[in-house]
């Protein structure tokens, strides 16, 4: 139980995917200009990540490891993730139109989100078991959402401030992200090791 709690806190706060592993930077820069859209994106990513963690775990340990074809890892993971996103999109569209309205446009963007593949790779690297992997996926998604929403809040305020011309657009967002990363370093004492 304690281990699962540590994985959770670690993935949300201490080793946040965006701010300490730089995974998922593209949507982080692209979708963080409005609070509402960042919430939608965050929820879609959390959902897909929890699911992807479970499915890639099953594929890796039940198929790749059993038949000793681990070298196909990358090819299999990327195919699994791409088809998973596609299936989730079709499923939601059919059975829950309101949810599709909320998450729909963000789903195709998730395939190219490196955080999902990163999640699968870290899961294998750290040898998590099934439950740990799912918790790890869910927590990583939550951590992504947390940073995305925080960033969107800051950017909405920044619209009203006077930014030097050369820093307009991406540079100021990157520097703000740097300051956020500094703030998140404060969590690093939370769990040791």
């Amino acid at each position: 139980m304690k281990e699962i709690f540590l994985i959770f806190i670690g993935a949300v706060l201490v080793n946040n995917f965006v701010l300490s592993y730089f995974l998922g930077i593209c949507p982080f820069l692209g979708v963080s200009n409005r609070l509402e859209s960042s919430l939608g994106m965050g929820m879609a990513v959390t959902f897909v990540m929890s699911l992807a963690a479970a499915i890639t775990w099953l594929f890796y340990y039940l198929i790749l490891v059993r038949f000793h074809i681990e070298f196909l890892e990358y090819v299999v993971f990327i195919l699994v993730i791409a088809s998973l996103v596609q299936i989730v999109e079709m499923f939601i569209k059919k059975y829950s139109p309101p949810l599709y309205q909320a998450l729909g446009i963000y789903l195709p963007l998730i395939t190219t989100n490196c955080a999902i593949l990163g999640l699968a790779l870290f899961m294998v690297l750290r040898q998590y078991n099934f439950v740990q992997s799912v918790i790890f996926g869910f927590a990583t998604g939550l951590g992504f959402m947390l940073v995305l929403v925080a960033m969107a809040g800051i950017r909405e305020e920044m619209d009203f401030s006077d930014i030097p011309a050369a820093f307009k657009g991406a540079p100021i967002v990157l520097i703000t992200a740097g300051i956020l990363a500094l703030a998140f370093m404060g969590f690093s004492g939370l769990i040791s090791g």
Binding site: Y21, I25, Y74, I78, F167, A170
Partner: protein, 200 residues
């Protein structure tokens, strides 16, 4: 379009990571030194050139609806080759780059060039475009690596610079420093562009 314009586009005008902001994960993650930037740049060069070559070669055989999936498999194959080669012959570099080598699969530059260029142009031009883009990517990585290595360690390519009274800023080697360095480098590119526009 002449061969020269195709090649030079990636090096400055359409610079992949500093102007189009593609391939951000490696740009931020592994640029703690110039050498790492060079190693990552070489891995991307290999994958990009070969996958652009393949895509340009078989572009007529790929059905339109499944093209993205096919490109992804081609890219993942070359990334696997690069990863296994690094692990076997350069274990030290492989350790330094860690999971960011397999993550080249989802590097938007490679899929972007396959979709935007290699699927519409001849094999020769596609390879040229891939070379220009990956060399541009490489110097981008090395530039940010240089900023972080000089400020964070006081060295360049591992050689001590020996600036008196300079204490390395550890922060530049930490994640926060990556964001600061990239932010300032991109801002500097914007600044140069603006200067040029005022002159003309």
């Amino acid at each position: 379009m002449s061969k020269k314009t195709i090649f030079l586009a990636g090096l400055w005008r359409e610079h992949p990571n500093l102007r189009q902001l593609l391939g951000m994960c490696p740009t931020l993650a592994i640029t703690t030194s110039v050498r790492n930037g060079f190693a990552m740049g070489t891995a991307v060069l290999f994958v990009l050139v070969f996958s652009s070559f393949m895509v340009a070669l078989i572009k007529r055989l790929i059905p339109h609806q499944v093209r993205i999936a096919v490109y992804t498999i081609i890219i993942a194959t070359f990334v696997t080759i690069a990863d296994i080669t690094l692990k076997a012959f350069f274990p030290q570099i492989s350790r330094a780059l860690g999971p960011y080598v397999p993550l080249i699969v989802v590097n938007c530059i490679i899929l972007g060039r396959a979709e935007a260029f290699a699927s519409r142009n001849s094999v020769g031009n596609s390879v040229l475009d891939a070379l220009g883009m990956s060399l541009g990517f490489m110097w981008g990585l090395m530039a940010i690596g240089a900023v972080r290595e000089i400020l964070g360690r006081g060295t360049i390519f591992g050689f001590r610079l020996g600036i008196i009274h300079f204490r390395p800023w550890i922060i530049m080697l930490l994640p926060a420093g990556a964001f600061f360095a990239l932010g300032f480098v991109v801002a500097f590119m914007n600044f140069l562009d603006r200067q040029r526009r005022f002159k003309t």
